[in-house]
């Protein structure tokens, strides 16, 4: 009975997140589901408190990163990066794509996938449009790199943050082990995207506007704060201060120097509804895990640190991320693979971070839902995305996992 209730609670939370009902926002439904699983006894009160205690610092870390990224926006960092990409492109679409790759991979790694999606991608669109070049390759590159370039640091993706504690490694060792997989993933994206979009990257006639541009200057203070924050992350284990405090310090510094218009703007930049959703989802997944889901996943996943085991973990994680979206997939799998940390956890992260590029919509459930409800949604080019996913994801999963295995042998 508890098993059924917790699975229904999980399904309800995910459905609400995909359906986006106005009257029943996903965070309300997820919070309600979390309360229900505790009330019916599918998860003890103590168990829920432990889960929240474990997730709390992670969610706080995410909030600090979101505020830090928004401070960078107010400092004009993303507009300056847009100007830098335009300048560096010299009006040539293929050079612009190279600039977009560098900036999107850097932004995702340092400021997280959320910064790339919400703050950088619109700028990239505007930059391409103003250079009179098709924005298509550049926007698709941002969308793909927000996932595949989020392997490098624990702060690059919420999935990494959720699994970081289970890894049992320092911030720098995480980065060291994931550097090669990150580079491999970006290289594969480059090879595929620059070929698939070759037609859009060809420019007949004279290059436009950018030729006469002056080299833009990046906002020095914001860049310094981000650099110091990253250095802080790096030395966190040496000085014995948790990384979250460096993120908080960075966020506070930028908020003071570039104050938001209102307190509301500051709060909304931290996406409070998303934070509540993650906490509630964590409780619901814990209940489902305790009631049989963990043992099912455990039986599906191989254990150990051999290359075949790591490949299997990455592939199963990618499949699960495509079935139920990568946040719940991470929460479900991390409890199981933490036994073979760090290798197993890092292989899982390759799967859940790269995997979502396979289905345009993040998960099969979303795809089906949208086909059913928005049958006439012409704004989605599912075929284009599935093609890109099919060309990049399987290769990246294998190559990045092999790279991880090599890094584990050396480091």
């Amino acid at each position: 009975m508890n098993e059924a209730i917790s699975l229904v609670a999980l399904a309800a939370s995910l459905t609400a997140a995909v359906a986006r009902w106005r009257r029943a926002p996903d965070w309300v439904v997820a919070a309600g589901a979390a309360v229900v699983v505790v009330l019916v006894g599918a998860l003890s009160f103590h168990g829920a408190r432990t889960a929240l205690g474990r997730l709390g610092p992670t969610v706080g870390f995410l909030a600090a990163l979101l505020v830090l990224a928004d401070g960078c926006r107010r400092a004009g960092l993303f507009h300056a990066l847009g100007a830098l990409m335009a300048f560096g492109s010299r009006g040539r679409p293929s050079r612009l794509l190279a600039m977009v790759f560098a900036v999107a991979a850097g932004t995702t790694a340092a400021l997280s996938l959320d910064a790339t999606i919400v703050l950088l991608t619109p700028i990239v669109f505007a930059t391409a449009a103003r250079l009179t070049t098709s924005p298509r390759p550049h926007v698709y590159a941002c969308s793909h790199l927000a996932n595949s370039a989020s392997l490098l640091l624990p702060v690059s993706n919420l999935t990494n943050l959720l699994a970081f504690a289970a890894c049992g490694v320092s911030f720098t060792r995480f980065a060291g082990l994931m550097a090669l997989p990150w580079l491999v993933a970006i290289a594969i994206e480059w090879v595929v995207l620059s070929r698939v979009f070759a037609d859009d990257l060809r420019q007949a006639g004279a290059p436009t506007a950018a030729a006469a541009m002056q080299r833009p200057t990046l906002p020095g203070l914001a860049m310094t704060v981000v650099a110091l924050t990253l250095i802080g992350f790096g030395v966190s284990s040496i000085v014995g201060v948790a990384p979250v405090w460096f993120a908080t310090a960075g966020a506070v510094a930028l908020t003071l120097r570039y104050p938001p218009e209102s307190v509301t703007q500051l709060i909304s930049s931290a996406e409070p509804t998303f934070l509540v959703f993650v906490l509630a989802l964590g409780v619901v997944v814990t209940a489902a895990g305790n009631n049989g889901l963990s043992s099912v996943v455990d039986s599906l996943l191989p254990h150990g640190q051999s290359l075949p085991a790591l490949l299997a973990v990455a592939v199963v994680s990618a499949i699960l991320a495509n079935l139920v979206n990568n946040l719940p997939a991470t929460l479900i799998i991390v409890a199981v693979v933490s036994a073979s940390a760090p290798a197993g956890v890092l292989a899982m992260l390759i799967g859940v971070n790269v995997g979502p590029n396979l289905t345009y919509v993040g998960s099969l459930a979303t795809l089906l839902w949208r086909r059913i409800v928005h049958a006439h949604d012409e704004d989605v080019d599912v075929v284009e995305f599935l093609k890109l996913g099919a060309l990049t994801v399987p290769v990246t999963l294998i190559a990045a996992t092999v790279a991880l295995w090599l890094a584990l042998q050396v480091l």
Partner: protein
């Protein structure tokens, strides 16, 4: 004679030049640009694929749709100036192939550029232009976006080689 000239970011200059050179002086020209709605959708606020994330782009930032519209107008204006003739301009938004075909209804001629490889190869016509050429109901004038290589440089299939 009513002529529709479909311009894209990558090939608008040669397309306009050749439309001017190859159509009668008394033809009524209409310049068309189509903005891809799927790209705008991907560049705008996160969709349901980003589970639980709802954040809209900050209010003080320009919106993707507005940028797309103003850039489309600017491109059409630049094209009309380059054309140097009186011409209507039409800006549409949606799935590219569909919008072009619908816009071409009632025209006597559709002018478009090959947007594929700049060589005499089967892929000289890109993805969207290919669909439009296949399905257009009116005559189509297909112009080279770049000077094509001479016949001597062409890669002949084996059965056509001398």
């Amino acid at each position: 004679m009513r002529v529709l000239v479909w311009i894209t970011e990558g090939s608008w200059q040669p397309c306009v030049d050749q439309a001017r050179a190859l159509t009668p002086a008394d033809a009524q020209l209409t310049l068309l640009h189509v903005a891809a709605s799927d790209v705008e959708r991907l560049a705008d606020h996160p969709g349901p694929e980003r589970l639980g994330r709802h954040r809209k782009p900050p209010k003080d930032e320009p919106r993707v749709r507005e940028i797309a519209e103003s850039e489309a107008q600017a491109l059409l204006a630049a094209a009309r100036e380059r054309l140097g003739r009186d011409a209507e301009t039409v800006s549409r938004r949606g799935r590219i192939e569909r919008e072009v075909l619908e816009a071409a209804e009632g025209f006597d001629l559709l002018v478009l550029a090959r947007d594929g490889r700049p060589s005499r190869e089967p892929k000289s016509i890109g993805h969207y232009a290919r669909f439009v050429v296949d399905h257009a109901g009116c005559p189509v004038l297909l112009v080279w976006a770049q000077t094509p290589p001479g016949l001597e440089d062409m890669h002949w299939p084996p059965h056509l080689r001398r």
